[in-house]
Symmetry: C2
Subunit: 138 residues, 2 copies
């Protein structure tokens, strides 16, 4: 905690090149297991991944539970606090969409809804995430 | 460039704990000179500041010009590409406002307008920034 500035508060938590990519994977690519995050094309290392997952859990942005179908595995879910990071992800995606010369198909998956209508798009995706992450399931 | 994902594109540029604080200072605290950025309470070091300013200039997010009033100094301005980072700053601020237990008066300065009305607030601040940064002045 370097200051009590609201921008600094957020950056102290997710202001690095990796944390929001994990959130992205949880939000848009249905990744819920440790091994799935490791497979993302940016090539996160296992020690950074373990560090960030532990931090996100401590910050109550994600929760970790024993998987009911794979007893030896943990399943990760977003909390409401984590789902509320959606506008941060979307605004970064929209900025990139405006200024990057080349983007992969993640574009449509991540910002498709919000590009049509920002407010409504956020609502649609938030609801989808709440159904997938906040309910008891596996 | 680790991938062509739109989230990764943005994070490769400003996904660190310092870059968006410099943008914040330009956007909300009228800071335009090197020495002014150094004075922010988070205590950025001069080597990190110099590195990030050079990167932001290379990315055309800011421009550097000789000051007309202080010939030995450079004045930094946001470009439209830089001003378009406003929603990223604001959504981080709004998330922090929701989840931080303690925030300093930056809160009202940064997210005051957007909290009243997100869309209108962004328009108001964008216009203010365009007037302060995109026109020939010093």
């Amino acid at each position: 905690m370097r200051s009590d500035c609201p921008l600094n508060f957020g950056l102290e938590i997710f202001g690095d090149k990796w944390t929001l990519l994990i959130i992205r994977d949880l939000m848009f690519f249905g990744k819920r297991y440790y091994g799935e995050f490791l497979e993302s094309e940016e090539g996160i290392s296992t020690n950074i991944l373990a560090d960030r997952l532990a931090m996100l859990e401590k910050q109550k942005i994600i929760v970790k539970k024993k998987s009911s179908t794979h007893k030896q595995k943990y399943i990760y879910s977003l909390t409401q606090k984590g789902i509320d990071l959606l506008p941060v992800i979307i605004t970064i995606g929209l900025w990139s969409d405006q200024y990057a010369t080349k983007l992969n198909p993640h574009r449509d998956i991540i910002i498709g809804e919000a590009k049509k209508n920002y407010t409504k798009g956020l609502q649609v995706v938030t609801k989808r995430l709440q159904q997938a992450h906040l309910q008891e399931r596996d």
